[in-house]
Amino acid sequence: MARVEIEIPPRSAYVGVVRLALASLGRSSGLDEEALDDLKIAVSEACTNAVLGHEETGSDEPVLVTWEDEGGVVVEVTDRSEKQEPGRLEDSQGFSTRQVMSMALLESMVERVDVEASPTGGTTTRLTFSH
């Protein structure tokens, strides 16, 4: 299947749009319901982290999401926000912060997650799905 690119404004309202679009692509690629649920969570987490990063810095640069299925699904989410230092792992009452829960979900929903600084500034999160 061809490569698909979706660019969204860095606003929370668009995270659901990406989730729906990629679930639809996943269905076309023959993913089963459980794999689709995992895909939706992982895509949502990566996009949420990107969008919240932009909101923190007040950036309007779009977030780029790419989908590729060449024998396995790979999704990349690239933002152009100047990310803050990683947040604390726990709050004052010992609960995990949202970022920690987000990373736990990402790591268990995909075969592999790579987060790297992109050459254009910002961060690329690459999600490799097994199937």
């Binding site: 929370s12 659901g16 987490e45 995990s96 829960m101 979900l105």
Partner: protein, 113 residues
């Protein structure tokens, strides 16, 4: 994308029936509703997730925040959930140890009495 929130009283509990998808866009609406309940004096809250199709870390963050609020008033926050795909999210993040999770609203209300 709409998030449905209906609040009803069952015994001394405020039960919030949530319908739809809880993500970064809709989670603030749930947070506001839960803050409103606590500020009105409802410290024993049951959040019914049976109508929820999707939940991610932003929704979990809101539930943890609400739990802290009710605990500050010696209250309780329990969940109703039987859907495997939603339970999986709580298991992965270790929150099954933090929230009492029940199979029905009646069970949740009875357990917290």
């Amino acid at each position: 994308m709409e998030l449905g929130l209906d609040v009803r009283k069952v015994d001394s509990h405020a039960v919030v029936d949530v319908k739809g998808e809880i993500d970064v866009y809709t989670a603030p609406k749930l947070r506001e509703k839960l803050i409103e309940l606590v500020s009105e004096g409802s410290y024993n809250v049951v959040v019914n997730l049976e109508g929820v199709d999707f939940l991610d870390s932003t929704g979990l963050g809101v539930l943890v925040g609400a739990l802290k609020r009710v605990k500050a008033h010696d209250g309780s926050l329990s969940l109703v959930c039987t859907q495997d795909k939603i339970l999986k999210i709580f298991k992965i993040t270790g929150l099954t140890k933090v929230f009492p999770i029940h199979e029905s609203v009646d069970e949740a209300v009875g357990a917290a009495e």
